[in-house]
């Protein structure tokens, strides 16, 4: 069993790593990582814009984005991928590479999900922080940028990371529209071997697990570091005795 797996890896590692490249398009793990990185890097700012639009007082911004979020959340990702794969060339006549189709679909889909997370983080902060920022003379966008979002996004790190991880896992669906990613490479290997699907897909599972676990781990480290800094634990000054200073309280 283990010898099967090492044999598969030693025979097909290059295909799993970079696909047919340089004799064909870049694929395999490299393409999965590129697709994931671009999807996350684009979906994140898009989600913030969506969230701000959803919270906007202007209906012209709020309504279309709300409709988009509802539709996107209510439709399976696979369906969206097939729609954009078949309908966009049909309507526009443009020959869109499947990588671009996959990337755009993922960005819109995960952007919609993530925007609800971001919106939740903003709403959960309450009015106080926005009012304080306004009282200091900040504009709405200034308050969002310097006061609200830094807190809302920090509070939402666990949910944001979950969405990032599911974005990485959703790149596997690119397989149905021939995006040559790691899943695609693995199924090519499986088609050649025919007799060892369990071993091939176990390798696939382990690699995805390693990628997703790394991302979660990095996020946890960042979150812990921010928490420690805000709690004053990394401050070089002597730790303040909270018990001593809590004696006086003027507020109920």
């Amino acid at each position: 069993m283990i010898s099967d797996i090492t044999a598969i890896i030693s025979d097909y590692w290059l295909l799993l790593l970079i696909g047919q490249y340089p004799n064909g398009p870049l694929g395999g793990l490299a393409n999965t990582l590129i697709l994931s990185a671009f999807s996350i890097a684009l979906a994140f700012p898009v989600s913030i814009l969506f969230a701000l639009a959803r919270l906007s007082k202007w209906r012209l911004l709020r309504w279309p984005v709300t409709a988009l979020v509802y539709v996107t959340r209510g439709v399976p990702l696979l369906m969206l991928i097939l729609w954009s794969y078949f309908l966009v060339p049909l309507w526009t006549g443009a020959d869109v590479p499947s990588f671009v189709t996959m990337l755009t679909t993922l960005v819109v889909y995960q952007g919609a999900f993530l925007s609800e997370v971001v919106r939740g983080g903003i709403v959960a902060l309450g009015h106080g922080q926005m009012e304080a920022a306004k009282a200091l003379g900040h504009s709405y966008l200034g308050a969002m940028r310097f006061v609200i979002l830094p807190q809302a996004l920090y509070n939402m790190i666990p949910s944001i990371i979950s969405t990032f991880v599911s974005t990485i896992k959703d790149t596997t669906l690119g397989y149905v529209i021939n995006v040559p990613d790691l899943t695609f490479a693995a199924s090519q290997v499986n088609n050649q071997l025919l007799t060892q699907p369990f071993q091939v897909f176990l390798i696939l599972a382990v690699v995805y697990y390693a990628i997703c676990w790394s991302l979660t781990h990095v996020a946890n480290v960042i979150e812990r570091r921010i928490t420690r800094r805000r709690a004053g634990l990394t401050d070089r000054a002597k730790p303040v005795s909270l018990a001593m200073s809590k004696i006086v309280s003027e507020q109920p």
Binding site: Q151, D235, Q251
Partner: protein, 171 residues
């Protein structure tokens, strides 16, 4: 802004004239008249729900009024104006919230210096120095780099808030 000119003609820093405000049918502020001179300390007291906070919040237009005039340094705060103008006006009016609303993601000194840097474009180093001086005045210099959650009691927060808002009075 010709602050010194207007303050020479207008000895009152804040003038509240005939202010009326209601939430639907429920009147909260009924024909309020008041004046606060430069440097004067005024205490507003009354039972809870009598509109003290509402009145104070109208002074920097966190609350709108139904009618009347509130002016700060001779400038009508509730006149129609662009948001940018209002933001600049607000940045000159100190305001400490009942529950302080300090920014938990910024250190004590950043809480005090952020608004001069971001709203007025003061150089970060200069704003930082000024903030440290003001924190020293309220006895918080040793906690300048701590975060609000670690800085201590409510009273500390109040002093902190006061320093934050004093930073704007020095313009």
């Amino acid at each position: 802004m010709t602050l010194s000119d207007t303050s020479a003609q207008q000895p009152q820093a804040i003038r509240i004239a005939n202010v009326y405000k209601s939430y639907g049918d429920h009147p909260v502020l009924k024909n309020i008249d008041a004046e606060v001179a430069r440097g004067e300390v005024v205490v507003i007291c009354g039972p809870s729900g009598s509109g003290k906070s509402t009145l104070i919040r109208t002074i920097n237009r966190l609350e709108e009024i139904s009618s009347g005039v509130i002016s700060f340094d001779g400038q009508n705060i509730h006149a129609p104006m662009r948001t940018k103008e209002l933001n600049l006006l607000r940045s000159r009016i100190g305001f400490v919230f009942q529950n302080f609303n300090l920014f938990p993601h910024l250190s004590v000194v950043e809480n005090v210096s952020m608004s001069p840097i971001r709203v007025k474009g003061v150089a970060p180093a200069e704003a930082h120095d000024k903030a440290l001086k003001l924190l020293d005045r309220v006895g918080l210099a040793d906690k300048a780099n701590a975060y609000p959650a670690a800085a201590g009691s409510d009273r500390t927060c109040a002093r902190h808030g006061a320093a934050g808002h004093a930073v704007r009075r020095t313009d």
